[in-house]
């Protein structure tokens, strides 16, 4: 099986076809919560990328030892473990960022996307493809967060990654919660429009949780 795995497809799928934020609309909370700045969005994305890769890897390794009857509790436990590790590392090394978004880092544990990839992909595939799948999904997540972060930070603070660009703050509302929701809605609508116009897609987000 390992020979027939197409890594390109997995990566493309994670970033475009099943982008966790814009296409699957899973785990939306942090997408709005931490994207008032590019840096926060990026670090959150890195945290998710790490957790997803490790969780998928662990689940794949243990897939023959986990009894199907207790599979969900086991997955939850594995996820919680890797989230705790991420949380500890972030708290020790990224102090300023952690002050802003520590809660959301801890809440990665409740992300539907992590559990669903463990269940749908890692429990049926070998170690390497599983880790690549986790990383690809995490990368899709990271890119979505960075995209939103660029949009919001540029409009809201006139800066990118904390470096001032405009020298003023054009639309303060964009860094507030309401602005986050607007940004998310407008961005999704715009991507749907692009999809319909240029890629012949249905242009409708599926929604779910």
């Amino acid at each position: 099986m390992s020979d027939s795995v197409n890594y390109g497809t997995i990566v493309k799928n994670g970033i475009f076809g099943e982008n966790p934020v814009f296409r699957l609309a899973l785990s939306l909370c942090p997408a709005v919560a931490v994207t008032s700045g590019v840096k926060n969005g990026f670090l959150m994305g890195v945290a998710v990328l790490f957790v997803m890769t490790m969780v998928n890897g662990t689940v794949s390794l243990l897939r023959n030892y986990i009894n199907p009857k207790v599979r969900i509790p086991s997955y939850m436990f594995i996820i919680a473990t890797w989230v705790t590790v991420t949380d500890q590392v972030m708290a020790a090394t990224q102090r300023a960022v952690y002050k802003d978004m520590g809660l959301y880092i801890m809440l990665i544990v409740a992300f539907a996307i992590v559990l669903s990839r463990a269940e749908m992909f890692a429990s049926r595939n070998k170690l390497l493809p599983s880790m690549v799948d986790g990383a690809a999904m995490g990368l899709g997540f990271l890119l979505a967060l960075v995209l939103l972060g660029v949009f919001r930070e540029f409009l809201g603070k006139g800066s990118l990654w904390g470096y001032p660009i405009l020298g003023q703050k054009p639309l303060l509302i964009m860094i507030l919660p309401t602005g986050g929701f607007f940004a998310m809605g407008l961005m999704m609508g715009w991507l749907n429009w692009l999809d319909r116009k240029f890629f012949g897609g249905t242009g409708a987000s599926s929604g779910g949780h």
Binding site: A25, S27, C29, A33, A80, T84, A110, A112, T178, H209
Partner: protein, 194 residues
């Protein structure tokens, strides 16, 4: 003391509303507000589970985790406690009040891995709240979340008939709508300093 409890309650329900200013529980918020009935059922279940979960976790955090210096395990332990409690509630409800179980049972399954259920004990632990303060936060957040769900469900019913531009149908317009509601809720800001 009483004043602080009341302050936490009001602040968590309106000003720091989980949905409109803390961005938590969005999946559920968008998922269950397509129908009013579901939204109401979810509201009840969530508030109850949040309250009991917060109280249980507070006791465990204060009397087990802090004395044993196990604070760093809080994510694992909180999620375990909530899962165990929900499982127990599920079993008990099925036996004792089957009617209620058929109404609310389906929501219980969704709850275990939900961020707002977990966020309450995490915030409580972070702020070092006492038992009553923790419970005030839980009830306030629960009612605030219920309010958000019910408003959203009633508006989305009205929106069903609207000719929304194709690209914006479904989630995008719901996001914009949530943004507008959050904008209105900014009117409450500045009422309470936490």
């Amino acid at each position: 003391m009483f004043e602080k409890v009341l302050t936490i309650f009001i602040a968590s329900a309106l000003i720091n509303n989980f949905v409109f200013s803390r961005y938590l529980g969005l999946c559920i918020f968008f998922g269950v507000t397509k129908r009013m009935e579901t939204a109401v059922g979810m509201s009840f279940t969530f508030t109850a589970v949040m309250l009991i979960g917060a109280a249980l976790n507070w006791v465990i955090y204060e009397y087990v985790m802090i004395p044993l210096h196990l604070g760093f395990l809080k994510i694992v332990i909180f999620i375990g406690v909530v899962a165990a409690f929900v499982q127990a509630a599920d079993t008990i409800m099925k036996k004792v009040t089957p009617a209620l179980y058929y109404k609310l049972g389906i929501y219980l399954a969704l709850i275990v891995t939900n961020c707002i259920i977990l966020a309450v004990p995490l915030i409580n632990a972070d702020e070092h709240y006492g038992l009553f303060e923790s419970m005030a936060l839980a009830v306030g957040s629960g009612l605030g979340f219920s309010l958000a769900l019910i408003i959203m469900a009633s508006i989305r019913e009205k929106l069903e008939l609207a000719d929304v531009p194709i690209s914006f149908r479904g989630l995008p317009i719901s996001f914009v709508l949530t943004g507008l509601i959050a904008l209105a809720f900014l009117g409450f800001s500045g009422m309470i300093t936490l």
